[in-house]
Symmetry: C2
Subunit: 337 residues, 2 copies
C-alpha cells in the first residue's frame, strides 16, 4: 500500500478500505447515520412530500478556479432538490476513483465536500467507494443523490409557468462553463474567470417562505444553460417565453471569452444560478429579495411568459430584432460538470 495514492485496495471492502473510511472519511463527515457503516443510512422523516434527485459529476479538470469536483457534486444535488421546492436534508456520496489518484487530491476533494455540505446545511449520511484499475476511468467521478422535504403549500414544477409570469435569473450567466472550458483548453483570457458553484437552497427557501405558491417554476440552468432550460419549461408548460438580450447579466470577462470562442452564454452551464418564473404581481418584490441576498446581487427580470410566439423561446435583441432561442442539438462541451 502506497500512502500517497489511492490503490485498488482502498475500494475493496477489506482492511485497507475500512481503515481508509475510518481515517479519511468519517472524521470529516461525522454523522450518526454514517458512523453505523450499515448497508444504508436509517433516517427519521415526518411524512409528506419529499424530493429525490441524483447526478454524477465528471468534470475535467477536477480542480478549477472557484471550486473542485467535490463541492460541485454537493452543491449540484443540493440545488436540484431546491429547484423542486424542497429543503435539502440528506445526501449520499458515491466516489469512483482511478487507481493511482493522489491521496492528497482526494483529501482536498473530501474537504470541499465537507465544507459545501456544512454551508448548505445538509448531512452526508451514506456513501460508496469504488476504485477501478488505471485506465478504466479518468481520475475521479462522483455521484451524489439527495433527499429533501417539500413544505406544505409549495408547488414548483417545470410545467407550472403561466401566461404573463415573469422570468428571473439569479445572477450572471455562463461563469462555470466558460471557466472550465478556458482552463481545459489552456486559454488564459482573464484571471477573473471563476466557477459560480454555490448552494442555492437558502435563497430559494427565503423566496418560498415569502411568496409560496406564487413561485411557479424553479430550475437551475446547468448543462445546456439558460437557453435549454427555458425551452424545457416552455415545452412542459405549453407556453412561449420571451427574453430580452439587453437584460441578460453576463460578466465582461465571460462575454469576451464567449465572443472569442464563438459561444453563446445562453447555452453555457451555470452551477450557482437559477431561473425563477413567478406571478407578475410579485416579480419586483422577488427581485428585491434576491438582490438583498448575498448570492443574488446580479439578479434580473429577463423576460415574460406569453401564450405563443415564433418559437417556444424568442429573444428581443439589443437592436430590437427577434431571434429564436432554439434548443441546441447536442453539447459543444463534454465533462463540464
Amino acid at each position: 500500500m502506497k500512502d500517497d495514492t489511492i490503490t485498488l485496495d482502498h475500494g475493496s471492502g477489506g482492511k485497507v478500505a475500512h481503515q481508509f473510511i475510518s481515517d479519511a472519511v468519517l472524521p470529516l463527515f461525522d454523522d450518526p447515520a454514517l458512523r453505523c457503516l450499515d448497508d444504508g443510512a436509517v433516517l427519521e422523516t415526518r411524512g409528506g412530500r419529499i424530493a429525490f434527485s441524483t447526478d454524477t459529476y465528471v468534470v475535467d479538470p477536477v480542480f478549477f478556479p472557484g471550486g473542485n469536483i467535490g463541492d460541485l457534486a454537493v452543491n449540484g444535488t443540493v440545488n436540484d432538490l431546491a429547484m423542486c421546492g424542497a429543503v435539502p436534508l440528506y445526501l449520499s456520496a458515491a466516489m469512483i476513483i482511478e487507481e493511482g489518484f493522489l491521496r492528497r487530491d482526494f483529501d482536498r476533494i473530501l474537504a470541499a465536500m465537507q465544507k459545501a455540505a456544512r454551508t448548505a446545511c445538509v448531512r452526508i449520511v451514506t456513501g460508496d467507494t469504488k476504485v477501478v484499475p488505471k485506465g478504466a476511468l479518468d481520475k475521479i467521478f462522483i455521484n451524489t443523490a439527495g433527499i429533501g422535504v417539500i413544505p406544505d403549500g409549495i408547488h414548483v414544477s417545470g410545467g407550472n409557468a403561466r401566461i404573463e409570469d415573469r422570468v428571473l435569473v439569479s445572477g450572471t450567466l455562463a461563469d462555470h462553463g466558460i471557466t472550465i472550458l478556458t482552463l481545459r483548453e489552456g486559454l488564459r483570457f482573464e484571471s477573473s474567470l471563476q466557477s459560480d458553484t454555490v448552494p442555492l437552497n437558502h435563497m430559494v427557501a427565503e423566496m418560498l417562505e415569502n411568496f409560496g405558491r406564487d413561485i411557479h417554476v424553479l430550475r437551475d440552468p446547468t448543462r445546456g444553460g439558460v437557453g435549454t432550460t427555458l425551452n424545457e419549461i416552455a415545452e412542459s408548460s405549453g407556453v412561449a417565453i420571451r427574453i430580452h438580450e439587453d437584460r441578460l447579466p453576463v460578466k465582461a470577462a465571460v462575454a469576451g471569452a464567449c465572443e472569442l470562442l464563438g459561444l453563446d452564454p445562453l447555452y453555457i452551464a451555470n452551477e450557482g444560478k437559477f431561473v425563477a418564473i413567478v406571478a407578475p404581481e410579485i416579480a419586483f418584490q422577488v427581485l428585491d429579495m434576491m438582490h438583498a441576498h448575498p448570492l443574488g446581487g446580479d439578479s434580473r427580470i429577463i423576460g415574460e411568459v406569453v401564450a405563443a410566439d415564433l418559437a417556444p423561446v424568442v429573444m428581443i435583441t439589443r437592436i430590437g430584432g427577434t431571434r429564436i432561442v432554439d434548443m441546441p442539438m447536442g453539447a459543444p462541451l463534454p465533462r463540464i460538470c
Copy 2:
C-alpha cells in the same frame, strides 16, 4: 448522430439527449414522478424511519451469465435497503457511459433494469445520463441510490448481534464473484457458473413480518464476501462469531474453480445472498421459512455468536481444527460488482 452508438450528444441536455430520454428511457420506466422531467422526483411519504443507500456498479464484463450491469445495479441497491430492514420503494439511476458504447447494449441494460425493478416492486423515479469522451471511462458504470421505508418495530443493524444468536446464510457462496472472474480471465471450468444477482427484499420482508425484533442483523456479503461481512458484524457488535466449514453451502463448480485458482469462497462476492443473525430460539423456524422461499432453498445455519474467541471470526474446519477467518487486507478482484 449515429443511431447505433451512444454519442456525447446523448448526455448533453440538448435535443438529442431529450429525444433519447423520451425514446429509450421513459417508455421502459413509465412513472409519473419520472415523466415530469423536473430536477428531481416528488414523492409522497408517510413519515417514520426511512433507509437511504447508494452504490456504483463498475462490473467488467458488463454482460455475464445470470445478468448484466443493469439488473445488478437495481438488485444491489434493493438488497442494501432490505438489509436495513426496509421495504425498498424508490430508486434513482445514474448512467455514466463511454462515447461509442453500442446503443443495443445500452437498451439491453435498460431492459434488465426495468425487469429487475418490476420483480423487486420498486419504482425508478429519477435519473441522470452522462456521456464522457472515449477513453475517459471503460464502457459503462451505473450508480443507483434508493429509499425504503422501515416498518415499525424492526431494528436490524450490524451492531445488534448477541451472544448465542445463530448465523444463517440464504444460499450458496461465491457464485457471482467466481462467475465474473472466470469469465474475465477467459477460464471455462464449468458452463454452469452463473451470477446469483436477485432482489432479496421479498424474502427479507417475509422474515421480518414473522419474526420482527428477533432478526438482529441482516447483511448482504457482496465485496469481500461472507468472511469480511462476518468480521464487520463481530466488530460492530463487540462479539465473536464461530462458523463451521462443513455447513458452508458452496456449489461443486464454484468450489472446484476456487480450488484451482487458490481462492477462498468465504471472501468472494455474492449478489443474491444474505447473512442473517437471529435469536437462537427462532433459528430453525427462520431456516424453514427461508427453505420454503424460491430464493432460499440452500439456506443453512452456519454458526453462532459467542462472547469471545481466538479472533473475531473463527471457523471450525472439516477435520475439527480451528482457523482464524481474518478480514482480508485488500481485494484480489477489482470490478467484480
